[in-house]
């Protein structure tokens, strides 16, 4: 199958590394309004946006007459492109594990996300642990290797989780995924979740003190033996030093406030609250903490702690000053985040720009990458999506997706390439059948 993408992309090779102009489009820049005009791309960057632009020499022109261009969609919460289990659920604190180690650049969900206009995603560890694994921001550079997918320079993160998921393995009755033979794991209550996080940071503080002392000695020209490097505590030390973002899975108002207090006690910030379905109840406190909120538009009631959700959550938090994004947490939902944004217009009356911001510039801010992506402005990465019609609509279809000025999805070549792909596959199936003659009689035994 890969061969076909290579062939398909090779056919579009003239679009690489060349100057590109997308013209006659309705351009929704998100940060600089909506206009009719052109976007100029040079060396992977947007160099000009406007009604009238300077046409560079030798530019490849994409005529997007009647079509819409938006910034590449950013999903702040995804689990695609992960090899193996997304949870290291064996321990309450699994900060030693890192999504970066298990990126699967051949996960077809990447291509499908692209086809839904997503160009960047925050890939998170699961929610089995109060403190989970390290996270990574990826660009959906389909066809490239694992390292090439990593969003260069994006701050790494770590997943925290509160409530039912991390305490479920502590329930001796077991829950989703728990096996009969697996012994109960601490914690089994919300109190225990808080305690686990506090204990981990007590350890991390002591660990940091050890290293600070060592570093100070080295700085004085001494040659002390270094402390043991602990992969569980290293990322927590980075959190304390402000070098790693915390993305915390949560639902209920009480646990949201709990976590903000814990972070305050230990002197670190929660970068984003994820899901945060009761965020509307404590939006002022979230805004005051400088914490972002990444929520669902209207997905709820899948468990007790997700019952008190309302579709106005995103809009209310936004109006209280919280930077809000809408995420997918799901490989399928990821393919139509544009309509998720549209729902924020219906519920809560957000403007078109504010709604679109929730899947573009806002998640970019939450991930600390807003200087590179999230809007259509000169100087930013040419991560762009072309829709055939108004994008905040169920009827809009993604036509082309560019990342760094390279075409990674093209609807026309995808559709026209399908028969050839099906044929190649059928050939292999036929070849296999021929090499494996049915046993004599050719009929399966009955019973």
């Amino acid at each position: 199958m890969k061969k076909f993408w290579i062939v398909a992309l090779a056919a579009l090779a003239p679009l690489y590394a060349e100057n590109i102009v997308i013209q006659n489009a309705t351009i929704m820049t998100v940060t600089k309004g909506t206009l009719q005009g052109s976007v100029v791309i040079k060396d992977g960057k947007i160099t000009e946006v406007g009604e009238k632009v300077m046409m560079p020499q030798n530019a490849t022109v994409i005529d997007a007459g009647g079509q819409y261009v938006i910034p590449g969609i950013i999903d702040c919460h995804s689990h695609i492109a992960v090899d193996g289990n997304v949870n290291e659920g064996s321990v309450s604190v699994s900060s030693m594990v890192d999504i970066k180690d298990v990126i699967n650049p051949e996960d077809i969900s990447i291509y499908r996300a692209l086809a839904g206009g997503v160009t960047t995603a925050n890939i998170l560890h699961g929610s089995a642990n109060p403190i989970g694994g390290q996270t990574i921001v990826l660009k959906m550079r389909w066809g490239r290797d694992a390292q090439s997918m990593i969003f260069e320079g994006a701050m790494p993160g770590i997943k925290f989780a509160l409530g039912e998921n991390p305490k479920r393995p502590g329930n001796p009755q077991g829950g989703r995924g728990a096996t009969q033979t697996a012994p109960a794991r601490y914690p089994a209550t919300r109190m225990g979740v808080e305690d686990t996080i506090r204990e981990a940071f007590n350890e991390a503080k002591a660990y940091k003190a050890q290293w600070d002392e060592y570093d100070a000695k080295v700085a004085h020209g001494e040659h002390p033996l270094p402390p043991r490097k602990d992969l569980k505590l290293e990322p927590l030390k980075e959190v304390l030093e402000g070098k790693r973002y915390v993305h915390a899975h949560c639902y209920r108002e009480d646990e949201i406030l709990m976590l903000l207090r814990v972070a305050d006690d230990y002197g670190f910030k929660i970068r984003t609250l994820q899901h945060v379905l009761e965020g509307y109840k404590v939006a002022k406190e979230i805004a005051a903490a400088g914490t972002g909120a990444s929520t669902f538009s209207d997905w709820w009631a899948f468990k007790i702690e997700a019952y008190d959700a309302i579709p106005f959550n995103a809009a209310i938090m936004q109006k209280k000053g919280v930077v809000v994004s809408l995420n997918s947490d799901d490989a399928e939902l990821m393919r139509h985040l544009n309509t998720e944004a549209g729902k924020a217009m219906k519920y809560g009356g957000l403007s078109e720009t504010d709604a679109l911001a929730m899947v573009t510039i806002n998640p970019a801010k939450q991930l600390g990458i807003e200087s590179r992506v999230g809007s259509i402005e000169a100087g930013k990465d040419a991560d762009l999506v072309i829709y055939d019609r108004y994008p905040l609509s169920d009827f809009a279809k993604v036509q082309k997706v560019l990342i760094d000025g390279r075409l990674y999805f093209d609807r026309d070549s995808d559709v026209s390439g399908r028969p050839a792909k099906a044929l190649e596959k059928q050939k292999l199936i036929d070849k296999e059948k021929q090499s494996q003659p049915r046993p004599a009689g050719g009929r399966r035994p009955v019973g």
Binding site: N85, M96, H125, A146, R176, T179, L225, L231
Partner: protein
């Protein structure tokens, strides 16, 4: 002299069992592997070593002489990754409790664990508990000459296995084993420690895996291995400091898991998919360990050879080629990749050869001569030149493990591991006439009943 040979042969027939100290194979075609093929020549063996080889080599007086007319002599084949010699790791036994397949189990309770490990009662809570770690074990110490697979594999022309204690995550070190019938295992060991066997699991997949011991996700396995190597480096530092001056210094705690790692000169990491090759090559570089990758199911893909070439690490290619599912669900949508694995998998050795990637072939759980023969034939049919197939089963594995100074080709001074055939090795109708291991002669066993003893892994190095 020529007339004497048949007579001598007659005289010597009765002496086969006694294994004369000097023997010569005359008038045979000799595939030396390290040099050109000798169309008609002589190999002289004395005291288990090759004394001389060539077109005009004199047969020493008193040597037991075999007339090799119409026969071909090859170096003994080397299985570059095996568990032969450790009966508890024979595939059917290991697979028995685990859905019928899978060579090992990460969960110590179901692992045929070596006597040195006690099954832990509580699940591991982190790398500090050293889960599924027997890094200090040497295969040589677990070899049992009674393993029935020794004769079976030898009958296929294998005189040597690189046998690994393939259990857990850090299994221990592999050993180069000569498949002689010995009373004591020590007589079989050529090199006791050639590298640390590492295995990983992808975990249950999806969102499962709550509450069992650490590690249970692929990323947990990787984090664990990384921590072990960081710990080993630190441990070494403390030990050296303590050795210099123990006064006033807290003594470093003895850690056998780290001792085993520090005593290993290379690591073996599993990689079947191209994604895994990329991941594991990077990982080994990060760990600063010389690495041999094993598995290589997708090595036929165009991305594979350049990637492997870039790192220059040798690879072991499993001959357990992907096969169509038995009794497949006609409704099931099979992926293009799985179809290509079946169609193109056996072409990987030819492509690696062309690209200049050093590779050896390994049995991956197959121990029946017929299966092994067919598996090599598949690679030849898919484009691998016969002499390259032979090299990937003789001199290349010897080079990969650093034992090419003593085996892997027919050269004076090397161990007398030889296979004598009528016809070309790996041809359908070729008969193996005799096998010499350490200069001792063996006849191939009568073909065992079909269908027995085959139990390769679905995913080499991946605990199911």
């Amino acid at each position: 002299m020529g007339k004497l040979v048949p007579a001598l042969l007659l005289v010597c027939v009765g002496a086969i069992a006694e294994n004369p100290r000097t023997l010569a194979i005359r008038n045979a075609k000799i595939v030396t592997v390290s040099g050109p093929v000798i169309n008609k020549g002589t190999v002289v063996v004395r005291n288990g070593l090759i004394e001389a080889v060539g077109e005009n080599v004199a047969v020493p007086a008193g040597a037991w002489t075999i007339d090799g007319e119409g026969m071909t002599v090859y170096p003994g084949l080397i299985d570059s990754m095996s568990t032969v010699g450790i009966p508890s790791l024979s595939a059917p036994a290991a697979g028995a409790g685990r859905g019928g397949r899978g060579q090992t189990a990460a969960a110590p309770a179901t692992t045929p664990a070596p006597a040195t490990t006690a099954a832990p009662v509580t699940p591991a809570k982190g790398p500090e508990d050293r889960p599924a770690n027997t890094s200090w074990v040497l295969a040589a110490d677990e070899i049992e000459p009674s393993d029935r697979r020794i004769e079976s594999v030898r009958s296929a022309g294998f005189t040597t296995t690189v046998t690994f204690p393939a259990h857990g995550i850090f299994g221990g070190q592999g050993s180069v084993i000569d498949l002689v019938a010995a009373e004591r295992a020590g007589a079989m060991v050529v090199v006791p420690a050639v590298g640390q066997y590492l295995a990983v699991s992808r975990g249950g997949g999806g969102f499962g895996g709550f509450g069992a011991g650490f590690p249970n996700a692929l990323m947990g396995y990787i984090a664990y291995i990384r921590q072990i190597y960081l710990d080993a480096e630190h441990y070494k530092l403390l030990k050296e400091a303590y050795a210099r001056d123990p006064r006033g210094m807290e003594r470093p705690q003895y850690d056998r898991a780290l001792e085993g790692v520090l005593g290993s000169k290379r690591i073996l990491l599993p990689a079947n998919r191209v994604v895994e090759m990329d991941r594991m090559l990077r990982f080994a570089a990060e760990l600063k360990q010389p690495v041999i990758l094993y598995g290589m199911r997708e090595a036929y893909r165009p991305e594979a050879a350049p990637l492997l070439k870039k790192y220059g690490s040798p690879v072991l290619v499993s001959m357990h080629w992907s096969e169509p599912p038995r009794d497949p669900d006609p409704e099931a949508d099979r992926t293009m990749r799985s179809l290509e694995n079946i169609d193109l998998g056996p072409s990987a050795p030819a492509l690696l050869q062309k690209a200049g990637v050093p590779f050896a072939l390994y049995s991956d759980g197959m121990d029946q001569p017929r299966d092994l023969q067919r598996a090599v034939k598949k690679a030849i049919d898919a484009g691998l030149a016969r002499q390259d197939a032979i090299r990937a089963l003789t001199l290349t594995p010897a080079e990969i493990y650093g034992v090419a100074d003593r085996m892997g080709s027919i050269e004076a001074g090397k161990i007398a591991n030889l296979v004598v055939t009528k016809g070309d090795l790996f041809d359908d109708h070729t008969q193996i006439e005799m096998i010499f291991v350490d200069g001792k002669q063996y006849k191939p066993a009568a073909e065992p009943p079909a269908g027995g003893g085959r139990g390769a892994t679905e995913e080499p190095g991946v605990n199911q």
